[in-house]
């Protein structure tokens, strides 16, 4: 059975601020799971709890059904939100050191560091100090630090923040590859388009509580049906304004996005559109992840 990361009933507060309020969800292995939520929702606090870096008031975090101990943590990879590397240390030595702290011997750590640096296109940076690298390259080194020991679980807090498109592609490729190899990957991001592209499933939290979870497909297909209708010559879709059980969520250049209440017959919508003019577009639409997110945290 594949290992599973479980968060159960996490509660945590900082002074009067409730950071986590009974948060419960699971992350399966072999998937890239997007961890979403507005700023201050509790994402970082949750991710830190995997490594014992959060003083929880209540709740537990389990890996493979067991509470996480230090030995298990050494098999995990972590990329914190605020990047953490020794600025004055050489890239190669730093990765070797971190690999050894995760239980590798020196030779293996050195070889793995070179392999990963090469894979992410920065093999030539092995002998330079971290502080001399660009933001994007520091980000790549930080990812290597999480990957170097062949982690079973990757917890990555905003790994794509501030990266250029090639950087995003490189890191996305690595994460997909890791998940395909059976690794459990949980990563947070505010770049919802990338998350939609990369993740099989997402977990959305707000105010320390779970508000939505599931595969990207299920979430996109869930909720009320949505239609995109264009009637030529009617740029503000006035024909749809007074249809019962229909809400125009967006009208752009004559293209109306309609949200249908339960039980509303789409044929009746089509007839109303045809009565208003020539219908040039009539398609059912899945919700985009950004819409799922906005509705979930509204």
């Amino acid at each position: 059975m594949d290992a599973l990361l479980e968060f159960e009933g996490l509660r945590c507060h900082f002074g009067s601020v409730v950071a986590l309020d009974g948060l419960t969800f699971t992350v399966p292995s072999g998937q890239v799971v997007g961890f979403l939520g507005p700023n201050g929702a509790g994402k970082t606090t949750t991710m830190r709890s995997v490594f014992g870096l959060t003083d929880l008031d209540a709740g537990s975090v389990r890996w493979g059904g067991k509470p996480i101990d230090q030995a298990a943590r050494r098999r995990f990879g972590y990329m914190p939100e605020e990047r953490g590397l020794y600025p004055g240390m050489l890239v190669g030595e730093q990765l070797e050191y971190l690999g050894q702290l995760h239980g590798m011997n020196r030779t293996d750590a050195r070889a793995a560091a070179r392999t990963w640096l090469d894979r992410l296109g920065i093999a030539d940076k092995v002998g330079v100090k971290v502080e001399t690298l660009s933001h994007g390259n520091q980000q790549r080194v930080q990812l290597v630090a999480a990957l170097i020991h062949g982690a079973e679980l990757l917890v990555l807090d905003e790994p794509l923040a501030g990266l250029d498109p090639p950087g995003i592609d490189a890191i996305s490729g690595v994460l997909s590859e890791q998940a395909s190899a059976g690794c459990c990957v949980l990563f947070s991001s505010h770049q919802l388009d990338q998350v939609e592209e990369l993740c099989e499933s997402v977990t959305i939290i707000d105010h320390g509580r779970l508000v939505a979870a599931g595969t990207v497909d299920d979430l996109a297909d869930s909720g009320p049906r949505r239609l995109v209708v264009r009637v030529e010559g009617d740029r503000d879709a006035s024909w749809a304004r007074h249809l019962p059980g229909v809400t125009a969520s967006e009208v752009v250049g004559g293209e109306a996005r309609l949200v249908l209440d339960a039980g509303i017959d789409s044929d009746a919508i089509l007839r109303a559109a045809m009565a208003a003019g020539r219908v040039s577009e009539f398609t059912f639409e899945r919700r985009r992840l950004s819409e799922v997110f906005r509705e979930a945290v509204a």
Partner: protein, 429 residues
């Protein structure tokens, strides 16, 4: 005495045995590292990074240069003969001239008598520093600056000797003794004084304790500063989060203080070895008598002092987020070190240890400075020495536990400034 030493050794062995047993139980509970493990890795990184730093290499060279100067300059000074220039105004017969020369010889120097044309010219040369003193008509002595009874310079001793001996020589002349009688009286030796207790010649030991104090002060200040800044930098750069994902806080902290401590003692060992060899080569008396013992005690207290203070500074470093906060924290933490250093330096220089000073030698924050001085002054027994060391070890264990709890809470804290109440709440976890 021997019983005490045996008792302490037995206690250390039992403590080590209990500790290894406990560690053994912990190891069987979960997957473990090899013997050195993560602590060794952290310590190794500290050693590599510190030894690589130019400031360390340069600093070591500077300290070696200072030590060399401290050993060589006094030796060169003592080997040089600067005759005391004595201006003579008016007549001074041969016996009185011989008396002046004998006075110089009695304090280990020589006198060169120069006849001055008149008093005015003599005063001018005296004011210019060309003369140590002027004998005016064989009846009075003139000096440029007053000679206080407590002044210990060679010139002051010479002036006091001439003043006393010249008066005696004139009195002998006035008594109209024969030259043989006068000579016999002039060359009398003091009656020897014999003590039931062995003598206490502290000269070399005191000098060594002063050098040792300077070494301990520099080491404690420098290396604890490294710990303070190092912990703060790990926190502010957030690398701590990556490290703590793999290593327990207390083991990370232990590796850090061990690594820096190793560098400190390697440097101290180099300096002491250099001092010993150089002193032997130049024949310095800095290491004569009980001085080697004082040096060993100084090294022991450097170890104990570092062990005590490293935890204090590590805990403080975990409370700081920025360089400015480090400065604010460093000063109050350094006050006991500065206080202990100054008061010990004063005691070592004067050769007297007050009761208050003896009490300080048993307090862990000041003992690293006060105890070696008491050893140099032979004012402490071995029992007292071991008792103070035991107190320091117990205090260090307590400090390490407290620092570990503070470090764990502070290092993971984000957001608003951590309050004392938060710091110690649930610190046991």
């Amino acid at each position: 005495m021997r019983a005490w030493i045996v008792l302490v050794l037995v206690a250390v062995v039992v403590a080590l045995r209990l500790w290894t047993r406990r560690r053994g139980r912990e190891r069987t509970a979960s997957w473990s590292w090899p013997a050195v493990g993560d602590v060794g890795l952290v310590a190794g990184r500290e050693v590599r990074e510190r030894l690589r730093a130019k400031v360390f290499r340069f600093g070591t060279l500077v300290v070696l240069a200072v030590v060399a100067a401290a050993i060589i300059i006094p030796k060169v000074e003592s080997g040089q003969h600067h005759p005391q220039q004595v201006g003579v105004v008016g007549p001074l017969d041969t016996s009185l001239r011989q008396s002046v020369e004998a006075s110089a010889k009695s304090i280990g120097t020589t006198a060169h008598l120069v006849t001055e044309p008149d008093l005015q010219a003599a005063k001018e040369r005296l004011g210019q520093g060309k003369l140590a003193l002027v004998v005016n008509d064989g009846r009075e002595l003139l000096v440029n600056t007053p000679v206080e009874p407590t002044t210990t310079s060679t010139t002051a001793e010479f002036v006091r000797a001439v003043s006393r001996d010249l008066a005696v020589a004139e009195a002998l002349q006035a008594a109209q003794l024969s030259p043989a009688q006068a000579s016999a009286l002039a060359h009398t030796s003091p009656v020897p004084v014999h003590s039931l207790q062995p003598g206490r010649n502290h000269g070399a030991a005191q000098g060594t304790s002063v050098v040792g104090l300077i070494l301990v002060f520099i080491m404690l200040t420098q290396y604890n500063g490294w710990i303070l800044v190092g912990v703060m930098e790990e926190k502010s750069s957030r690398v701590i989060e990556v490290l703590l994902a793999a290593v327990r806080p207390i083991r990370l902290l232990t590796g850090k203080v061990l690594g820096i401590g190793f560098v400190a003692f390697a440097q101290a060992a180099i300096i002491v070895a250099f001092a010993l060899i150089l002193a032997k080569v130049v024949g310095s008396d800095l290491l004569s008598g009980t001085a080697p013992l004082v040096l060993v005690c100084t090294l022991i207290w450097l170890l104990l002092g570092y062990a005590f203070y490293c935890w204090v500074f590590a805990a403080a470093g975990s409370l700081a987020e920025r360089q400015e906060q480090v400065q604010t924290l460093a000063l109050p933490l350094s006050l006991p070190i500065i206080f202990g250093y100054i008061i010990a330096l004063t005691a070592a220089s004067s050769g007297n240890a007050s009761t208050f000073f003896e009490v300080l030698a048993y307090l862990p924050p000041t003992a690293p400075f006060a105890m070696p001085v008491l050893v140099a002054l032979s004012d402490v027994t071995w029992v007292g020495f071991l008792a103070s060391a035991a107190l320091s070890i117990v205090a260090t264990i307590g400090m390490a536990r407290l620092a570990g709890a503070v470090y764990r809470r502070a290092i993971l804290h984000t957001g608003n400034r951590l309050r004392l109440r938060q710091l110690f709440a649930r610190s046991a976890g």
